[in-house]
């Protein structure tokens, strides 16, 4: 049996007489042993869906079985079987108390699952080793680095050896080194413990690097599902990006100068039969889709050379999940990344707090 099976999960919030459809009927199936990514921009409904699957929020419609327990009839059964690591940015943080010792957090968490003292000590020891927290057990949480604290939060989600763990934005806010280090640990969860991992992310590279399968969610609906490779194949062809040398740095806004050259080049490339479409970005970069990049490239170079266009750079790439996202939702995921990195800027995804009762 699948470890997660959700049918038509939906959640609406009513705030100041306005109804917000945060999630509009999500169907999803996750098999035991998978690492699955839930990908979408801020406000798409990722966290709301996760909060429903972890019994923090009651769905307004739909049903689900999570880790063998019925979400609506047996929420306690779900809680006993899953681990949950909340996101550490936005309105609420990751769940550790700055004034606690690392070992106290681990033992307290074990006590919440009613694990006996001796077993709890053994689990704490195993988890500190597993997540590279060795030697930190007598340290106050507030003295940990961002990456260490995040690993502690993940350790807390694993104290009771759950078959399924939910990670909400596991690496958001971490520096690049800590991120790739955490990726290794997340891979290790499955490799060493056989844990099924369900994570949300708005980093495409994270989904690409970690996940066997990706669900793309936008406006509260799942708009695409598949392995990263399958999704990329849906975006036909390869991507060529190139920048042209214009008439010097003094170019005007419209016409003349670099932009004029780039626009002329765009028109020229659009006429080539191998080019499916071509767009000119604000920073003067040309981006074109071609069926087979390796074959198209020599022809394109010849055309540009004949026209007297000189290039400062050219790059051929297989489509990324970013392209997939762009194709499926009509906008680039990168567009909302800058705001996403700042704490407190994720309001739109959270439930509207003033609503006293739902």
């Amino acid at each position: 049996m699948s470890i997660i099976e959700a049918k038509g999960l939906a959640r609406t919030f009513t705030s100041r007489k306005r109804t917000v459809h945060a999630v509009r009927g999500v169907d999803l199936t996750v098999e035991a042993g998978e690492i699955v990514g839930f990908l979408g921009p801020n406000g798409a409904g990722k966290t709301t869906t996760l909060r429903m699957l972890t019994t923090l929020l009651r769905p307004t419609a739909g049903s689900a079985t999570v880790a063998g327990a019925d979400l609506l009839r047996d929420p306690l059964g779900v809680r006993e079987r899953i681990g949950y690591v909340p996101q550490a940015i936005g309105q609420t943080m990751g769940g550790t108390d700055p004034e606690c010792l690392v070992v106290e957090e681990l033992l307290d968490q074990a006590a919440l699952y009613r694990i006996g003292r001796a077993d709890a000590m053994a689990r704490a020891e195993a988890l500190t080793a597993q997540l590279d927290l060795g030697g930190l057990d007598r340290r106050l949480v507030k003295t940990l680095s961002g990456g260490q604290r995040r690993r502690l939060e993940i350790a807390l989600g694993l104290v009771h050896e759950p078959a399924l763990v939910f990670l909400d934005e596991p690496t958001t806010g971490l520096d690049p080194q800590s991120r790739s280090n955490l990726w290794d640990h997340i891979r290790g969860l499955r490799a060493d413990l056989g844990t099924t991992v369900f994570l949300t992310t708005h980093y495409l590279d994270e989904a690409d690097a970690l996940c066997d399968r990706v669900f793309i969610i936008d406006h509260g609906e799942i708009v695409g599902t598949g392995t990263p490779d399958e999704l990329k194949r849906q975006v036909s062809g390869d991507v060529v990006t190139l920048a042209v040398n214009g008439g010097g740095a003094s170019g005007g806004v419209n016409g003349g100068g670099a932009n004029g050259t780039a626009e002329a080049t765009r028109a020229l490339l659009a006429r080539q039969p191998v080019v499916q479409d071509v767009t000119l970005s604000d920073d003067g970069e040309l981006r074109l889709h071609v069926v087979n990049g390796a074959e198209a490239l020599p022809a394109l170079l010849r055309v540009l050379d004949d026209a007297g266009v000189t290039m400062s750079s050219i790059n051929l790439s297989r489509p990324t999940l970013d392209d997939v996202f762009l194709t499926m939702t009509g906008r680039s995921l990168r567009d909302d990344s800058p705001g996403a990195a700042r704490p407190g800027k994720q309001r739109d995804e959270q439930e509207p707090q003033p609503a006293g009762k739902e």
Partner: protein, 259 residues
């Protein structure tokens, strides 16, 4: 029995975190002494009979029999209602959510904390009574025990409601003015500082709505040596009723499926 286990798990965590903070410990211990040292001399200089009850003999011993019960309730009114601030920062830290995803009783998240608050308040009350005795308070031991019973019920109720309200508001900026606008009138209407008998009739009428007024009257009655009378009965009924209603309100918030 798992509920008791869960409550104790939460209690031990909160107790450990409290004791780790030396400033908190010192303030908690000094506060009752400070109240007594500052307010006490004010009342011992009132003319005999002003404070009512007892023999009307006036003087230091009389004043403290009036004043110590009032201070005990004041400790509770301020101490137990302000505990909600801590749960707002815990909510913001994701700790509440973390607990709610585990099988731990969601009610124990409240009761474990309330247990800590009750014990803190009882400890403060004992200090206050002991210092009072050093200052000249003479009261029967049974009266002190009865008063501690009232204090337990008051702390139980007020702390529960404080946590529930704070968790609903989720904002210190909203919680602080709310507390001030409720507690300051309650301090007046409960006759903590001054006997309500000094006030005009309409004020005494309004004061009847304050549950703490009945509890203080019962405690004062005990301090004067009267245990079996209507005042005591009213005090017991009101304090138990208050604790039950507050616990019920608090549990409703903590047991909600969405938080």
């Amino acid at each position: 029995m798992t509920f008791i286990h869960d409550t104790l798990v939460v209690f031990r965590r909160q107790e450990r975190l409290s004791l780790r903070n030396p400033a908190w410990v010192v303030i908690a211990l000094v506060q009752p002494v400070l109240y007594l040292v500052l307010f006490g001399p004010l009342l011992t200089h009132l003319p005999a009979g002003t404070l009512g009850g007892g023999s009307g003999a006036g003087g230091t011993a009389e004043a403290y029999k009036f004043f110590v019960p009032g201070l005990l309730i004041q400790l509770g009114l301020f101490g137990s209602t302000f505990v909600g601030f801590a749960i707002i920062s815990d909510w913001r830290g994701g700790v509440i959510e973390r607990f709610r995803v585990t099988p731990v009783s969601r009610l124990a998240v409240m009761t474990g904390r309330v247990l800590r608050d009750v014990i803190v308040l009882v400890a403060q009350a004992v200090i206050l009574v002991l210092v009072g005795v050093a200052f000249g308070l003479r009261a029967p031991v049974i009266a002190v025990l009865i008063s501690l019973g009232f204090i337990v019920l008051v702390a139980l109720g007020l702390a529960s409601v404080s946590y529930a309200t704070a968790l609903l508001l989720k904002s210190e900026d909203a919680f602080a003015p709310l507390l001030n606008s409720i507690i300051v009138p309650l301090v007046l209407l409960s006759g903590i500082m001054l006997p309500l008998s000094l006030g005009p009739g309409w004020l005494q009428g309004i004061a009847r709505v304050s549950p703490f007024r009945y509890i203080i009257d019962a405690m004062r009655s005990a301090f004067y040596g009267h245990y079996a009378n209507t005042v005591m009965l009213e005090g017991v009924a009101v304090s138990i009723g208050l604790a039950l209603v507050c616990l019920w309100l608090g549990s409703r918030v903590f047991l909600r499926e969405n938080a």
